[in-house]
Amino acid sequence: MSKIDEVRDYELFIGPNHPGISGNFSFKMKLQGDKILSAKTDAGYLHRGFEKLMEERLFIQNIAIVCRICVPDPDPNENNYARAIEEIAGIEVPERAKWIRTLVLELSRLASYLFGIGGHVATTGLYAFSNWTIADRDRIMELFEELTGGRVYHIYQLPGGVRRDFPDGFERRVLEVMDYIESRLGDYDDLAINNALFIKRATGIGVITKEQAIKWGVTGPNLRACGVAADVRKDDPYEVYDKVDFEIPTRTEGDAYARTIVRRKEIEQSISIVRQIIDKIPAGPVWNKIPNPLKWKVPAGDAYVRTESSKGEYAYYMVSDGGRNPYRVHVRGASTTHGVHVLENLLAGSRIEDASQIMFSLDACPPEVDR
């Protein structure tokens, strides 16, 4: 590096309180002008030691804390946790509970996508769009509130089923909300998705090729934006995803815009899944009683369960030694790849104005990294 370069290089520490970072996260960038030479992520601001806390709590108590691992999309956590126990202990889940769980997962996905694309568009300065999507997301929050009793943290999926059945008329209101969101999609497209300026900004940013994506361990919508039609819901079906009909939208460009488009298209798929669920859901009990949770030992064993969260592959590795507490729970957050080295790889060589766009288009969720 020549002397002049040395002078021109400087370090910029972005975060943790920076609007261009999704959540409490930061990275150190080496810049030359406004070109990023290299970036180094720095996580741990949200570290609470979940995996450790879980080891010191009863199985039942953990259902209240797992949802905190990823706040925008908490339900895959609950689902993973419940399913891991079910797999180890061999607990059967009633059919209706499976459908309800799928519904909850899809609603959560919808909410998260609305949040995610709103966030991405907002990084380009188009705040009207995020105002819309987040306001519309609130409708889904209200559905959750009605079903589970909580807006954000649902604490709803128990090992063996779900905590409560639908309240009266819930199906109708779900459909209403779905209709509403569907009716809004046109506005979304007009304002942002088909906005020439947004397209100009988002295309060609943070391009991941198909080969890179697989090598870097990219999953979820980000992988599908690179042309790989992989989805845990299809490949490794859980709950009732093998009984509902849906497509996996893919794009081939692998850039920020493609990622957002994939999410935008998946909103439609999710709406369709939710409608199918409401249509097909069978009657029956929603919870197979587990033993008294204060005196409950899960037999020794281990299980690796995966879900497709809105961010990508979300997996739990649970080990039980036959005691009252899980012996070990390893949380594989979807953003552990996206938020760290995929981000580092993409940032190197890009420009500072695109940094936050890259982060938001990856929809990286720092608490998943930190746990």
Binding site: D42, A43, G44, H47, G49, E51, K52, L53, E55, E56, E87, I214, K215, W216, G217, T219, V228, A230, D235, D236, D302, Y304, R306, E313, A315, Y317, V319, Y327, R328, H330, R332, T336, T337, V340, H341, V369, D370
Partner: protein, 180 residues
């Protein structure tokens, strides 16, 4: 036959790794226990030959009573749609780091997981380019995920907790004294 696909994969792998113990856990889940020295070979073959392109995660379990760490590698095959959990055990060092070889040159995600395990358990992966502290940069204690570290104990000892003296309690106590 049940688990036909899984069994055929196991058969194929068993030929190459006769010393490994395979088990089909359930649909799309295969468990294999390996001697730790064979893990790297296994990983190379997994990626290059058997097309397990996705490293889903590396988990570490601290079996303190056995004096061992268990490393569990979760490999996913996009085409066959099968997950292989490769389990190895390495000795657990009481003081300082345990050591094991890295696979981060094969899979990039391994970088994160290995770094994470290093921080949380104190297992150093030789050959990895980046083993710096990451999440726990401000932490001075032992690797927290080790079983001999008890977080409740540490927290109660280290942090300050609040002492409430609400009015209703005072009232209640006052009323109680009046009754006596």
């Amino acid at each position: 036959m049940e688990y036909e696909k899984e069994n055929s994969i196991v058969e194929m792998m068993q030929m190459q790794f006769p010393e490994a113990a395979f088990k089909v856990k359930k649909e799309r889940r295969i468990e294999v226990r390996l001697p730790s020295a064979r893990l790297y070979d296994f990983a190379v073959r997994m990626q290059k030959k058997w097309n397990f392109l996705h490293l889903s995660a590396i988990s570490c379990v601290d079996w303190i009573d056995d004096g061992e760490f268990e490393l569990v590698y979760h490999f996913w095959n996009y085409d066959e749609k099968v997950l292989v959990m490769a389990k190895i055990r390495i000795p657990r060092e009481e003081e300082g780091d345990s050591h094991f070889e890295t696979i981060s040159n094969l899979w990039q995600p391994a970088k994160f997981f290995e770094r994470d395990i290093h921080e949380m358990f104190g297992v150093y992966f030789d050959g990895s380019e980046d083993m710096e502290r990451f999440i726990l940069t401000d932490w001075n204690g032992p690797p927290p995920m080790r079983k001999d570290f008890i977080t409740r104990e540490f927290a109660l000892n280290f942090y300050h907790y609040r002492d409430y003296e609400p009015q209703w309690l005072k009232d209640m106590m006052a009323a109680g004294e009046g009754n006596e």
